[in-house]
Symmetry: C2
Subunit: 400 residues, 2 copies
């Protein structure tokens, strides 16, 4: 079985760390395994590049941002290949394009359309360790396109799917915790978690895994290991629900501070008006999260949604467009909110959970802006200053 | 007429400098000109990347080095495009591959084979400013390949040739001087210089222009301007000999410290042995400069050549191979040499020049290791410590 290894930015932050990864991968190769490895940009490289662009303008062209950001991964693959070759291993680096990763969609937020794995297989058959740039592919124009935040995870899982392999993701945390340990130090490490639960936690901002990566893992049945150390296997396995024996009611709690809430008021909330708003959001590639509205069809209705903080510039443009279209409209962008979510497969069959959540809020006099529920999660938008407290209270309530 | 502008690393070292270039190019575009611009990596980016690779190994794989080094230019083109777009200009960045620049040869030292200019012309017709990554193209394997030291100059001139345009190269010096002003402060700036003279000066290490760029300029009749400021035209024009009215006997003197001298001794200097040595040099992509030999066909002959300092690692490998092949051979690599050359079209018709050169050396008791002459140049390999003195003496002798 081919294992696709993935190393994030902090794991490849120095040439010394890259050399250590090369030694580890070499040992795996020595045991006659096929090795494919996906890497991110070194340390804070991507952030530094984004900062350069923002020195020029607050709203840089997205095709050019993809070009700029994609260089970080190209540097890492070259250095890792140099390291492996210096140890005597045959290795080859491939960009997303060269690895056959075809994408489509908005620049800086592309999705993988397909992977032509023939070239990778040919290199593996020749005994090479194949090193692939994460976070990037090539779009229909032949331009490099990036997959958005955490896109290297998506690259790794998609490659594992294309190669019928497993995926091992090495990061700076040693697995998936029930709550972010920086917020709630008593949080417990989870050994096994289902794709669905992980997806909710990922979408809700637990930060360990990119949700699209987990979604792909589920779709193609790719088992994903998430851990820290080179070698020791004490992280978290993300797999199908059927493979997990013991289930808790609530698996984890996520806290996502990287959101904005947008309140649109004084607009008749007919479906066509809501569509007019969402149409603009799609056009600008804004990732809409929780949606809620009051007073359906009222002349003075209001409509609210959340989205990542990084969409702020796009939202300001949308706001201008909407103000031209709707005379009296008021668009308020509130960055001081946090989303706290509880996640667990057990939610489906435990009808009292929502009540317990709101009792905790009521007992502590905590108000919330929005609530969103799914089959396996309950999410609350609260003031940013209350986020951590809400997570702690819920973690204690549900003993995660 | 299309003008291909080229900006070197120091001209694009900060986003502020990039913004100034964008403003300047915008003004040219405002006057209804087609604008194509080639850029290098920002400041010392390429050196920093090379340093990273050398932290891993002294002899990094060259395909991977090309991958690594080519990222710097990709960053600059993205940032310049972002800057132009932020000023309201339609601009697009293209990698070497996307600009249709096909190359072949040794990685890190590729040559441009052809340019398919159709895509560039299409973007120009659409009113875009086209920004192209210098120093790189795509080879027959679809891999990014770099053109070696100063390769962005070559990219710019080759593009000007493909587009039937002129080329303007902006650098951190304000033109071509008769001698490097850091070595000889009384050196004079040259307003017009022929391709042949510039090629000699470039090959001989004057440092301002990549010789292949000048060679291409000559081949395709591309007029090349080299200068410093954005706008003022007081640099040097490199053009055909016929277009230069007034000629001096000696145009300039170059000092090249970036060379090694390799002495190979105790080898029968039959042609087949010399070939055996040069064959290895070609195999490792070593750029041989001056060649000389003593005692043709002697059993204890010696053979010497110069090459750039950067070929040292390759030479050490070649030395190992030769020692296996020739039992008694001695290979001595001497990095403490400098090449001083005088260049001028006037050399062809002035038979006394060489005599004057050696009289200067004799009068000052200066010895030399090798001498090389061409129709328009005389080059001397001297001890590194004597390089500057020799250049000064010759500059005074020939009043350049």
């Amino acid at each position: 079985m081919i294992i696709v290894h993935k190393y994030g930015g902090s794991s490849v932050a120095t040439t010394e760390k890259i050399m250590n990864i090369a030694k580890y991968l070499g040992k795996i190769k020595d045991k006659k395994n096929d090795v494919v490895v996906v890497v991110s940009a070194m340390g804070k490289t991507t952030d530094t590049l984004i900062k350069l662009a923002h020195e020029i303008t607050g709203d840089p062209d997205k095709r050019e941002m993809d070009r700029l950001m994609s260089t970080g991964e190209q540097q890492t693959i070259a250095l890792l290949s140099i390291a492996l070759q210096s140890l005597g291993y045959d290795a080859i680096s491939l960009t997303g394009r060269q690895a056959g990763i075809r994408t489509s969609g908005h620049h800086t937020k592309n999705r993988i359309e397909s992977i032509d794995e023939k070239k990778i297989k040919k290199h593996l058959e020749e005994g090479k360790i194949v090193i692939i740039a994460g976070f990037q592919g090539v779009n229909e124009n032949g331009d490099v396109a990036t997959l958005g935040r955490g896109g290297s995870d998506t690259s790794a899982v998609a490659l594992a799917a294309a190669l019928n392999g497993k995926c091992e993701i090495y990061t700076d945390v040693d697995g998936v915790y029930s709550v972010d340990p920086r917020i709630y130090p008593e949080a417990k490490k989870i050994s096994y978690i289902s794709y669905d639960e992980m997806m909710e936690l990922a979408f809700l901002g637990a930060g360990v895994m990119e949700p699209r990566a987990v979604e792909l893992g589920k779709k193609y049945g790719v088992e994903i290991y998430v851990g820290k150390s080179l070698g020791e296997k004490n992280g978290t396995v993300i797999t199908a629900k059927e493979k997990i024996m013991e289930e808790k009611v609530i698996t984890g709690i996520s806290v996502n501070e990287d959101i904005l809430m947008v309140n649109i008021e004084e607009i008749p909330t007919y479906a066509k008006n809501v569509y007019a708003i969402l149409e603009q959001a799609v056009k600008f590639g804004v990732n809409i999260g929780v949606i809620s509205q009051n007073d359906v069809s009222s002349e003075h209705g209001s409509f609210a949604f959340t989205c990542p903080q990084s969409d702020k510039a796009s939202l300001e443009k949308i706001s201008e467009i909407l103000k031209e279209k709707f005379e009296r409209i008021s668009v308020i962008i509130n960055p001081y909110v946090t989303k706290v979510s509880i996640v667990g497969i057990g939610l489906i069959s435990n009808i009292g959970i929502a009540a317990r959540v709101f009792k905790v809020l009521a007992d502590n006099n905590i108000s919330f802006h929005q609530v969103a529920t799914s089959e396996i999660s309950i999410g609350l938008i609260v003031d940013e200053v209350m986020g951590k407290k809400v997570a702690e209270l819920l973690a204690k309530e549900f003993n995660v």
